[in-house]
């Protein structure tokens, strides 16, 4: 075959597919055949590039041109100008928000400069549905190396020496987990991949499975070799249809190539992988609940010990690791424990993938070395706060984590530092808040989530969280007392101490950390009946300034409930009994005549 002179990589992650990337691919194929370029140009889907803020993303190689926010209607121009004549379409290139500089190559973008990609190494580079592209990037070499050169014990020691810790939340040393499971004697053991990503706004695991499914398959086989298991199970939520499809394709290809099955690469090692679907319950990310759900039982946690490494799936020793943890394994085997442990901080090695969300310019998926500061992540990579507003807090660790203030901006990110700052690493969600966010409402939002997701098995979590929510609700209504704030603290501590599993033990974290860092906001809700951010509707009052309003009628015409009255060219008036505090009048007024109190 002739080699293609050009590769067009289209982001095939869920985010970009939800935009127009399917249509974009069709258009490319259409115009490329129209101009007779089929033998010269290859068009393919890859995994997520991480720069979801400006999707759909297209990368043209070898020019290394990085197009952002591409629409199907732009494709004709890209083919005619760039593909045919070598002139990049300037208006679709990325523009740095601060400097306004137009950048054509992704490695020059601030967003990518500080990133080191290990777990995401192949995302946005290979076609996830083609095993050969994975093989060309050292794929399955690590498995081959382990099977032919290392004993299971030696392999486990490499992982132990690398210092890799679980990326799903707890941060338990991965090598140690493998060793414990390996040492338990049993006729049958299991490797489980936890792909039940439940934190709101987090999509690290989904992107890895969509962009590089083979890395997880290879790592699961390596784990099976180490602990002595011949079966791997991926527990994945049915809400991830694209990830499931890609995983299925990848498993099938690996079987066809003999990289899964019996006597893998001629060694005396058999391994197969099956999928198990979850219904998307947050608690099933907890390993004992996950195992029960896989067994067909209710997804409820049980007391540890016994740990899954002793008695897990079908009461057999089971090693559960998260997707991102697995994605690191083949690289560690290939490059060595010493290489990996050089990256990161003293106790947290390697990199971590974060899903940046909230009031930040570059929403997306990033991978940075442990020890990177929050400031670097938020300002350098994330491009700062949207609309030039003031940074207020960043929430890490999802509903189980906490909110960190600007005092923590220069804290290097690792497991220990986040924990001592009152939050946690969690699976890597990072939600940025600005001056317009009310911290009491944020705590209430997370509580609402845990309330919904609590399995109901133990009392502290089921009843305690409900009471926490009710008190928070009271505060946001302006009916709270100082006593209530104390109650929140005491109750939170009790829930943390007495809950059965990680969900309950961490659910009060958003409450505790917002009280610790933003007590003044709680106090102004309680003592003054005011919401400083203007978010709590019961405490907000919109008024029209008589001397500023010129009677343009814009607010009157836009009010959805008819609460605004007034004649043309005379000051208008808001009827407080009808007002639903939607804020439309405030947004629409061109003369700043509306005040929020």
């Amino acid at each position: 075959m002739t080699d293609y002179r050009m590769h067009i990589l289209i982001c095939g992650g869920t985010g970009c597919k939800a935009s127009e990337s399917n249509e974009i691919k069709e258009k490319f194929n259409h115009f490329i055949s129209e101009f007779d370029l089929e033998d010269e140009v290859q068009v393919l889907f890859t995994g997520c590039f991480g720069f979801c803020e400006k999707g759909p993303i297209i990368k043209v190689l070898p020019d290394n041109t990085f197009y952002v926010s591409v629409a199907a209607k732009d494709i004709e121009e890209i083919v005619k100008e760039h593909i045919l004549k070598g002139r990049p379409v300037k208006r679709l290139l990325y523009k740095e928000p601060v400097s306004g500089e137009v950048i054509s190559e992704s490695q020059d973008m601030d967003f990518y400069k500080k990133q080191i990609r290990i777990a995401l190494r192949n995302c946005g580079f290979i076609n996830p549905e083609n095993i050969e592209e994975y093989i060309s990037r050292d794929g399955y070499m690590a498995l081959g190396k382990c099977l032919s050169e290392y004993t299971p014990e030696e392999t486990t020691n490499i992982i132990k020496d690398s210092g890799l810790r679980g990326r799903g939340g707890g941060g338990f040393p991965t090598g140690l987990k493998w060793e414990i499971t390996r040492k338990v004697e049993s006729d049958q053991k299991y490797v489980v991949c936890n792909a039940d990503e439940g934190d709101p706004g987090a999509f690290m695991d989904r992107s890895i499975l969509e962009g590089d499914p083979h890395s997880v398959i290879e790592a699961m086989a390596i784990c099976g070799y180490c602990i002595g298991a011949d079966t791997g199970l991926v527990y994945i939520r049915a809400e991830y249809p694209l990830a499931i499809e890609r995983l299925k394709t990848a498993i099938k290809q690996a079987e066809e190539y003999g990289l899964l099955g019996d006597k893998i690469l001629g060694a005396d090692f058999n391994f197969k992988i099956e999928l198990r679907y979850g219904a998307g319950a947050f608690v099933c990310g907890e390993e004992t609940a996950l195992i029960h759900s896989m067994e067909g039982l209710r997804g409820e946690p049980t007391v540890k010990p016994p740990f899954p490494s002793v008695s897990g799936y079908m009461e057999k020793p089971t090693n559960v690791n998260n997707v991102e943890t697995f994605a690191n394994i083949p690289v560690i085997i290939n490059k060595g424990a010493a290489w990996f442990s050089k990256i990161g901080t003293d106790k947290s090695k390697g990199t971590k993938v974060f899903a940046l969300a909230g009031k930040i310019n570059n929403v997306g998926l990033i991978e940075v070395p442990m020890g990177t500061t929050l400031r670097e992540v938020i300002y350098d990579i994330g491009g700062g706060i949207k609309d030039g507003k003031e940074f207020k807090a960043v929430q890490t660790g999802g509903p189980s984590g906490g909110c960190l203030t600007k005092d923590f901006l220069d804290t290097p990110i690792d497991y220990e530092n986040l924990l001592s700052a009152g939050s946690m690493m969690g699976s890597g969600g990072m939600i940025v808040m600005d001056e317009d966010d009310c911290m009491v409402s944020i705590a209430k939002f997370y509580l609402e989530f845990t309330l919904e997701e609590s399995c109901g098995k133990c009392n502290p979590c089921r009843i305690g969280n409900k009471r926490l929510f009710e008190i928070l609700d009271k505060v946001t209504e302006g009916k709270g007392t100082l006593e209530d704030i104390d109650k929140l603290k005491v109750l939170s501590d009790v829930i943390k101490d007495t809950s059965l599993c990680g969900l309950g033990q961490s659910s009060p974290n958003p409450v505790l950390s917002t009280i610790a860092n933003f007590e003044d906001e709680y106090l102004s809700h309680v003592e003054e009946g005011k919401c400083p951010a203007g978010q709590c509707k019961s405490l907000v009052r919109y008024d029209i300034l008589e001397d500023v309003c010129n009677g343009c009628t814009l607010c009157f015409r836009n009010c959805p409930v008819g609460a605004i009255t007034g004649e043309r060219r005379t000051p208008h008036f808001i009827d407080q009994s009808l007002c639903i505090k939607c804020g439309v009048c405030y947004d629409k007024c061109k003369f700043n005549a509306i005040t929020v109190n």
């Binding site: 080699d3 293609y4 070898p62 020019d63 004549k85 070598g86 070499m141 190539y257 003999g258 690469l265």
Partner: protein, 131 residues
């Protein structure tokens, strides 16, 4: 697809598929490789730049030279089309004019592989602002 039975089989497949991926691997840091930029504006294409480009891609691959072949817009030397700019790692760009197949062969053999200049160089008459 027959099954891969050993690590050496896997390595063999890796080498086979790597050539297909070379374009992608190399484009991340083109300055480490030989860069060939073919002028592909209307005038270039009309003078046969497409064939020239195809020849460069195939011949460099055949001779196992690690190179990144890209197209570029009109360089302004319309009288000498097809024009090709060659950048050897660490060296200043050199532009060749009237590059047909024979000339391309000569450029590969003499300049790219041995580093000796060949006839047909167009003196660069301008500076670009971004370099």
């Amino acid at each position: 697809m027959s099954k891969i039975k050993s690590l050496s089989d896997l390595k063999k497949i890796k080498e086979e598929v790597q050539s297909k991926m070379k374009l992608r691997e190399n484009s991340d840091n083109p300055e480490q490789f030989v860069q060939v930029k073919v002028g592909m504006a209307t005038c270039g294409i009309a003078s046969g730049a497409k064939d020239t480009m195809k020849f460069f891609i195939e011949e460099l691959e055949l001779q196992a030279v690690d190179a990144v072949v890209t197209q570029t817009g009109c360089m302004g030397y319309c009288y000498a089309e097809p024009t090709v700019e060659v950048i050897l790692p660490g060296k200043e760009p050199v532009v060749f004019g009237y590059v047909n197949k024979n000339k391309a062969e000569e450029i590969i053999d003499t300049y790219i592989k041995k580093g000796k200049l060949v006839d047909g160089i167009i003196p660069i008459s301008f500076k670009t602002i971004d370099e």
